[in-house]
Amino acid sequence: MAVTHLDLAADKQAAGSRFSRPEIVLFVLWGTFWLLMLAVAIQDYVRNGGRQVWQPILWEVTSLAVATFWVVLQRRVHRRYAAYLDRPLLWIGQHVKWLPLVVLTFVPAVYAIRHGVYALVGQAYTHEPWDEVLIYESIKLLLFCGLWVGLIYGFDSFAQAQEQRQRLFALQKSLAEAQLAQLKAQLRPHFFFNALNTISALMHVDVPRADRLLARLADLLRATLQWSDKEITSVREEIRMLELYAQIMQERFADRVTLAWNVDNAVLGGAIPALLLQPLLENAFKHGVERSRDAVRIEVAARRDSDRMHIAIRNTGSLLAADRHEGVGLRNCRERLTVLYGDAARLELTQLSDSVEAAVTLPWQEHRA
């Protein structure tokens, strides 16, 4: 898992610029920090009566050069430690173990450069005795390292969290799309072939009815093709699809089913996941009508309640023991709601006194076409 993760991140960066955005911010901060250090050093030098301003500049630049060397080195290998970002102590530990080497190389390197430059301009670089220098610089370096290791940790874990969030979002989106595709596949074959057979049977006895059914089927097919790519649709559209579907089913089971629509006009402009209700109505037909020899009444009701929308599909009959485990249709519905709305949406299947109700509650959102 960690490996693919890193590879993906590396690929993404190779494709775009060489540095990620948090990394650029990090280097800008680094530069600003050193400009401040430089300004402070110069001010301090001048206030103490110094005349040769190049001296404090040299001191700071040498420190900057060696420190930058270490930071660049850290940036080059930081992916190696990305796996530890979730455990801060381990991540910091992995960095602290390099600290002795940093301290031991820093002081000799910095002082060697300074002595060299002083010698070149024919001056002598005077400073405290070496033991004092080593202690003083080490303490300064420790504070400095603590600050920057902490900052880098913050940046890296922020970058990683953002990447994970983006990936999760993409994953959820693809999941929702896959489910929509699956729903559509589920909807088509059985239903369409059965409807075609009904038309084929009807046209021998009732041509106008067969003709009407053929037109409804064409409407439904057209609508299916049209909204093919939309994840969210309007309640108006969704209800229209349900009506088309129900009209065709009613032709097939004319003697066994009656339908009632109680859809409040106020909800028609609301946004709803496409095909969310289709499986619920299909269930009402499948478990209500197709499993029962008695006449079944199916009711579709929708209303708005300030910031929420309630939709219920009821069919007379009872939840059979065998149906208690949720079918693919219902499970799909629930998963789509969770992916799209989190905890803000609900789907409940309940047994009322003489009927079964599938009730969906969604946050109200205006649909924008």
Partner: protein
């Protein structure tokens, strides 16, 4: 004369078949069924030669109806379906007749002429066997209760007792009389749950309490309900092997 039963839950679909079949001089549609259970009852009562059996029906599906029939005496079955990838694959594989909705008259006539040339026994057997393989037919058993049929959970069956071509199905609550051979019933129920103990009896393994040895290698089987049956040598090894003794 070919006596035909048409089973489909959609009135227009039944009408279409009925009309076209009635045009045939050698075909008589003797009944129509609107659901699986009714179809099974009609098959039992009317003994049709051919059944056009829609797969998607309330109560019992067409496949479940076929799975509950006795292989040797089952009518010829033509499955009718709108879309059932798995089942259709199985039908193709076992040369079982089927019609895909919507079908035209030519297709129906072709099926009819194929049926006319069929030996009744072999293909009906294959249809029942395929239907059993496609459904959970070992979990449920269709039994007669008065004039009607009823589905019972096969786990409630304690033991089976054959007499001639009948089988007494004993559950804790009551017994049912099925006109089937023990052999055929055991084939349907599968050998995971039921085991034969002698020529004319089988037990639900879960209902067995103890075995007591008798002379000559025979045993007594004691059921949890107190009933004592005989286990013949012939079936002993097999049963003990399965019970891990």
């Amino acid at each position: 004369m070919m006596r035909v039963l048409v089973a489909d839950d959609e009135a227009p679909a039944r009408g279409k078949l009925q009309r076209w079949l009635s045009e045939q001089p050698d075909v008589e549609v003797i009944a129509e069924s609107e659901d699986g259970l009714h179809a099974a009852e009609a098959i039992e009562k009317l003994k049709p030669d051919v059944v056009f059996l829609d797969i998607q029906m309330p109560g019992l599906s067409g496949l479940e109806v076929a799975a509950q029939l006795e292989q040797a005496t089952a009518p010829l079955i033509v499955f009718v379906t709108a879309f059932d990838e798995h089942a259709i694959k199985a039908f193709e594989l076992n040369a079982i007749d089927y019609l895909l909705k919507p079908y035209d008259k030519d297709r129906l006539l072709k099926t009819l002429s194929r049926i006319r040339g069929r030996p009744a026994d072999g293909s009906a057997r294959a249809a029942v066997a395929t239907a059993r393989a496609q459904t959970q037919s070992h979990d449920r058993l269709l039994v007669p209760v008065g004039e009607t049929l009823q589905l019972i959970d096969s786990a409630t069956v304690e033991w089976l007792e054959a007499s001639d071509n009948y089988v007494h199905v004993h559950t804790a609550a009551r017994s049912y009389l099925l006109r089937r051979t023990l052999q055929d019933l055991l084939e349907q129920l599968g050998d995971r749950q039921f085991a034969r103990i002698h020529k004319s009896a089988a037990v639900n393994i879960a209902a067995v309490k103890a075995f007591t040895p008798l002379f000559k290698g025979d045993y007594e089987v004691q059921l949890r309900n107190g009933k004592v049956l005989r286990l013949s040598r012939r079936f002993k090894e097999q049963l003990f092997g399965r019970m891990g003794r």
